[in-house]
Amino acid sequence: MKKTINIPLGSQHISLLEPVRFKFECENEKIVGVDSDVGFVHRGVEKACTTRFKYDAVGYVVARVCGLCAITHSLSYTVAIEQLLDVEVSKKAKYLRVLLLELDRIHSHMLCLSHTCESAGFEAMFMRIMGDRELIMEIQELLTGNRIQFDYISIGGVNRDISLETAKKIVNSLDIVKQKVLGYIDEFTNNWSLSLKFKGIGALTLDEAYRFNAIGPLARASGLHIDVRNEIEYLPYKELGFKMQTHTDGDINARNIIRLNEILNSLEMCNNILAGVPEGEIVVKSKGKPSGESLVRFEAPRGELMYFVKGNATAMLDRVRIKTPTFSSIPAFSHIFMGENYADAPAILASFDPCLSCTAK
């Protein structure tokens, strides 16, 4: 007597900002099967990087793979090229890169949290977080001249310097943000309706996290110690006070808490950077054309981002391979939907913070 219904979510749906299509096979509203199509945003960036653009313009192109972690994309690419060109970046540039990377993480996490709340039907919280997020957006605009597409990283360093008074302004704003974030933590842990929506929903166990090679906040919420910031040495994360955040529950709530704690950690790192921006050049001139292979990984807000670049000593590259975070989490999340209630689906989806834009490239 069990009859199933197909509930679509996407490709155009109010709770989705991007086109992705899920088709949930549901018994009543319990999900028993998921079918997904993630290819709506495929534009052909990988190919264009090797045929349409010279290697020095590719950084601006790959930034448009994703608007949310544009900086991570351009940075990963740039670092890969720098490895091929043997450029040593100045310490100041490295610090500024980390600053932008962490600011981006903060705004992206805030966006994710607010979107998760919106998907859970909590409009007021959405508005609250989005309102406070504007502070970060203003900082970013101040630093880079644009709210989203920073175009800040250049091969050999960064494009813009930071002045002392901007630094001071930023520190002030970050302090306000920190207070707000502490307020969110209180809200996320104590609001009963949110705990009904988030606690125990969409859980991924540690073993499953290993099995599905989960990454980013998704994996860390399940207790998997994976954070590329911990595994790389091209950026001075260790000395800036990076701490890995993990949780054990693996549910939506755990992911939210992880994000909130990461925001706090990032804020701390930003403060450390701004307290002592080293002197030096912001950009080092590079010579020659890239040749050879390099593979670079970075921690984007949603997890590990990998660039593989192969050059052949001409201005055109041979291969640019982008492995994006959301792409790796897709198997894990089709799995998580099983057995959940359709009413939770938008919130679960939002809690993964998917970015199909980079998934399909």
Partner: protein, 177 residues
């Protein structure tokens, strides 16, 4: 009789569709709804439902797979409606121009009324665009606007008759009556 046209611009409900953008402009649209910019001042509601929307905010350069959906949603919106292309890549293809899986800009498929440049188009620009769209909305007639180009025949070939076409045909008949 007093004219109802002027109320159109006081209650623009929007539908947002991402036709392959990088999310940059999408999150700026979201930011427009946030307290700092608060599009609801203009009576904007993000309905998410083509049948109840007046303004179609599109982002992205139209990837192959989203062509159909773009037209489907467009035809499901009742007239009068205004299409706003948000962001450089939506207007002209932007950085994605000439990539193999995109069409350069949405105006290849549907008539666009407002082009908002910028990469990403900042919230102020989006508000400018929406305000511009309101004026256009007020002046529009209720005449049916037809997409410039339908999606390739491949879908009809397989026995699935394209819904957009049927929608359009019925629209035409209605006009004759």
């Amino acid at each position: 009789m007093f004219s109802l046209n002027k109320y159109r611009k006081k209650s623009p409900w929007i539908l947002h569709y991402n036709a392959g953008s990088c999310n940059g402009c999408d999150i700026e649209i979201l930011a427009c709804l946030s307290p700092k910019y608060d599009l609801e001042r203009f009576g904007v509601i993000n309905t998410g439902n083509p049948k109840q929307s007046d303004i179609f905010l599109v982002t992205g350069p139209v990837t192959f797979r989203s062509r159909e959906r773009l037209i489907e949603l467009y035809t499901q919106m009742p007239e009068p409606k205004v299409v706003v292309a948000v962001g450089s890549c939506t207007c002209t293809g932007g950085v994605f121009r000439d990539m193999y899986n995109v069409e350069d800009g949405i105006d290849i498929y549907i008539p666009v009324d407002v082009y908002i440049p910028g990469c990403a188009a900042s919230p102020e620009l989006i508000i400018d665009g929406v305000v511009q769209a309101l004026d256009i909305l007020e002046k529009k007639t209720k005449e049916m606007e037809i997409p410039f180009k339908l999606f390739k025949e491949a879908t009809t070939k397989k026995g699935i008759t394209s819904r957009r076409e049927s929608a359009l045909k019925i629209g035409e008949n209605d006009e004759k009556n």
